[in-house]
C-alpha cells in the first residue's frame, strides 16, 4: 500500500495524526557561492540547532532554516586512528586515519565534522577553519578545512 492509500491520513488543514519525519536533507547547502551548513534557529528562544530539526531541542519551539557563516574557529579536535565499524562507509583502498573536530561559529553554535587535515602537528585549538564539501562516492557531505592564511 503506497502513501495516500491507507485510511489514516490527516484531513487537509487538520493536525497531522502521525509524527512528521524530519527532512533528511543533506546538512550542506551548495546552492550559493560556496558550501554552507544548514542549521536551524528557534523562533521562540533563538537557540541554534544542527542538524536542522523540526522542533527546538531546548524549548520545543518552531525552528526556521538558517545557514551558518562559511568560516569559524577550531574549538577542539581528535583523530580517528582505526577504521570505524559500519555504518561507516569505507573509502576505496587501505584505511587512512582522519581527524574530526568541533568548529565554533560565534553567535551561532559549535558543529562537529571531519577535518581535511589529519596531522596532529598541524591542528591547533583556535585556528581558523572553513566549510568545504566532502565527496565520498555518492555521498556528498561537509568537512572543515584549515584556512591557509597566506592565500587569503
Amino acid at each position: 500500500m503506497g502513501p495516500g492509500e491507507g485510511g489514516h491520513q490527516a484531513q487537509a488543514g487538520s493536525p497531522a495524526l502521525t509524527a512528521v519525519a524530519p527532512d533528511p536533507a543533506a546538512p550542506l547547502d551548495l546552492s550559493g557561492d560556496g558550501p554552507r551548513l544548514v542549521a536551524g534557529r528557534c523562533s521562540d528562544c533563538a537557540a541554534h540547532t544542527f542538524p536542522l530539526r523540526e522542533r527546538c531541542p531546548t524549548c520545543g519551539g518552531a525552528v526556521e532554516r538558517t545557514l551558518l557563516p562559511p568560516r569559524g574557529t577550531l574549538w577542539t579536535w581528535t583523530t580517528q586512528g582505526f577504521e570505524p565499524k559500519p555504518p561507516y562507509v569505507p573509502e576505496d583502498g587501505e584505511f587512512v586515519p582522519f581527524a574530526v573536530g568541533y568548529v565554533e561559529f560565534p553567535g551561532y553554535l559549535r558543529v562537529e565534522g571531519r577535518l581535511t587535515e589529519a596531522d596532529p602537528a598541524r591542528l591547533q585549538i583556535g585556528m581558523p577553519m572553513e566549510v568545504v564539501a566532502l565527496r565520498r562516492g555518492e555521498l556528498v557531505t561537509y568537512a572543515f578545512a584549515p584556512i591557509d592564511e597566506d592565500s587569503t
Binding site: T78, T79, Y88, V111, L139, T141
Partner: protein, 383 residues
C-alpha cells in the same frame, strides 16, 4: 531520617574474555557469590533487579537460580544499567516494599570498539556514514579541550594508565594484569589524539552482584559485615552538556550529569568529597578519570597533574582511585561495570582487598559511573 540500606553481599565473576562462557552464566556466578558472601539463600530474595546491554534478559537467570516467583525486573540502561538497578533497589527498600533483594549486572560484548546505529540515537544516517559514530572521538575531543583549558600534559594521561595496570596486577579478577610503563603507554598506537591504545579501555565481559537490605533485616543475615549505602544518585544530561554523539554543541557548555549526580549523592549522604578515602570513577580512558575526579569534587580542575606526579591516587596515597585497576584494567562490560565499582569499594571498606587493600582502614568510599548519551550514577558508602 530515611531508612538505612546495607550492602551485605558482594560477588563478582572475573572480567576479561571468557570464550564459551555466556554472559548469563557469569551473572549467575556473581549472584551465587553475592548470596554466599551474605550467607543467604536465593529463596530469601524478595526481589531482583538487573540487566545487561548485550548479554540477554536477566530475569531468565531464575532457570539456574530457582524460579521462586520473585519479582525480577530487567534493567537495560547502557553504562548506567548497574546504577539504575541499584537506585531502583534502594527506592523499593526505602518505600518498605521489600526488606532484602539482589542487584546484578553482566555483559559480553564483541571485540573492538562499540558499534552504534545513528537511528537508535535520533541521528541522521550521514552522521554514521562519514565516520562520526565512534565513541572514542568524543573522549579524545572532550579531553583535548580540557587539557587545553587546564594545562594538563600527555604525561599525566600515561600516569593514569600506569596506575591502572599496576592496580590491575594486584587484582585477581582483573583482565589486564601486566604492569606497563609510562613510556610503553605513550608509545602505543595513537587511536584518538591525545589518547593512545593503552589509555583506552576495551569492551569486555564480566559480572557483578550485590545483596542489599534494610537495617532492620540485618539480624537475618548470617555473614553480615554491612557496608552502608549512604546515598545513590542517578542523573541524565541537561541542555548544553558536552556528550557523546553530539553533531553540535551550544556556545555555553552546561555541567555534565556527573556534576549533578555527585553533588546530589554527597548532599544526600551528609558526607563531603574531602572525607572520601577510596574512590572508583569511570575511566573509559585516562582523561575520563582526570575529568571525573574534578567533576565529582574530589579535586580542583588542573590539580590532577600534581595528584598523579606525587602518587596521591595510588593505593597508599592520599586519595586512592580505581584500586582494582578500573575500566582500563578490567575492560568495560557495560551492564556489570557500575556494580564492579561498588563491589570494589565494599571490599575495601571491609578490609578484605588483599594485596590491593588501602591501608589504615578506609571508612568512606565513593563510586561514579558515566556513559552515553549523558548518564551518571554515583554512590557514597561508609563502614
Amino acid at each position: 531520617m530515611s531508612v538505612e540500606i546495607a550492602i551485605v553481599g558482594a560477588g563478582i565473576h572475573p572480567f576479561g574474555r571468557h570464550d564459551g562462557v555466556s554472559a548469563m552464566a557469569m551473572g549467575v556466578h556473581a549472584a551465587r557469590a553475592a548470596l554466599a558472601d551474605a550467607g543467604l539463600a536465593w529463596a530469601a530474595m524478595q526481589f531482583a533487579y538487573g540487566g545487561s546491554e548485550d548479554g540477554g534478559n536477566a530475569d531468565t537467570m531464575v532457570a539456574d537460580l530457582g524460579p521462586t516467583g520473585l519479582p525480577f525486573v530487567n534493567v537495560r540502561n547502557g553504562c548506567a544499567t548497574g546504577g539504575s538497578s541499584l537506585v531502583s533497589a534502594v527506592q523499593a527498600l526505602r518505600a518498605g516494599t521489600f526488606e532484602v533483594g539482589l542487584v546484578v549486572g553482566f555483559d559480553k560484548h564483541p571485540r573492538g570498539a562499540f558499534q552504534n546505529d545513528p537511528a537508535d540515537w535520533s541521528l541522521p544516517a550521514w552522521y554514521g556514514e562519514v565516520g562520526l559514530m565512534v565513541t572514542t572521538q568524543f573522549f579524545g575531543a572532550k579531553l583535548q579541550r580540557y587539557m587545553h583549558d587546564h594545562d594538563i600534559p600527555e604525561r599525566t594521561l600515561a600516569q593514569v594508565a600506569e596506575k591502572a595496570f599496576a592496580n590491575g596486577s594486584l587484582t585477581p579478577h582483573a583482565w589486564r594484569r601486566r604492569p606497563l610503563s609510562v613510556d610503553e603507554i605513550l608509545g602505543s598506537q595513537l587511536l584518538a589524539h591525545p589518547l593512545t591504545q593503552y589509555m583506552l579501555c576495551s569492551p569486555g565481559e564480566g559480572a557483578a552482584a550485590l545483596v542489599v537490605c534494610r537495617r532492620d533485616y540485618l539480624e537475618h543475615v548470617p555473614n553480615a559485615r554491612p557496608v552502608w549505602l549512604r546515598s545513590v544518585s542517578f542523573r541524565t544530561r541537561r541542555a548544553g552538556s558536552f556528550e557523546v554523539f553530539s553533531p553540535s554543541l551550544g556556545l555555553e557548555i552546561a555541567p555534565s550529569p556527573t556534576v549533578d549526580a555527585a553533588h546530589e549523592a554527597f548532599e544526600a549522604a551528609g558526607i563531603g568529597p574531602e572525607e572520601v578515602e577510596v574512590a572508583q570513577v569511570q575511566d573509559t580512558e585516562s582523561g575520563a578519570e582526570l575529568i571525573h575526579l574534578a567533576e565529582c569534587g574530589l579535586c580542583e580542575h588542573g590539580e590532577q597533574v600534581e595528584l598523579y606526579e606525587t602518587g596521591a591516587t595510588k593505593i597508599g596515597g592520599r586519595l586512592p582511585v580505581n584500586t582494582d585497576g578500573g575500566c582500563l584494567a578490567n575492560g568495560e562490560p557495560v551492564g556489570a561495570s557500575g556494580l564492579r565499582q561498588v563491589y570494589e569499594v565494599v571490599t575495601q571498606l571491609r578490609g578484605e582487598a588483599g594485596e590491593r587493600q588501602v591501608p589504615n582502614g578506609p571508612r568512606v568510599g565513593f563510586t561514579q559511573v558515566y556513559g552515553a548519551p549523558g548518564v551518571s550514577a554515583c554512590t557514597v558508602l561508609s563502614t
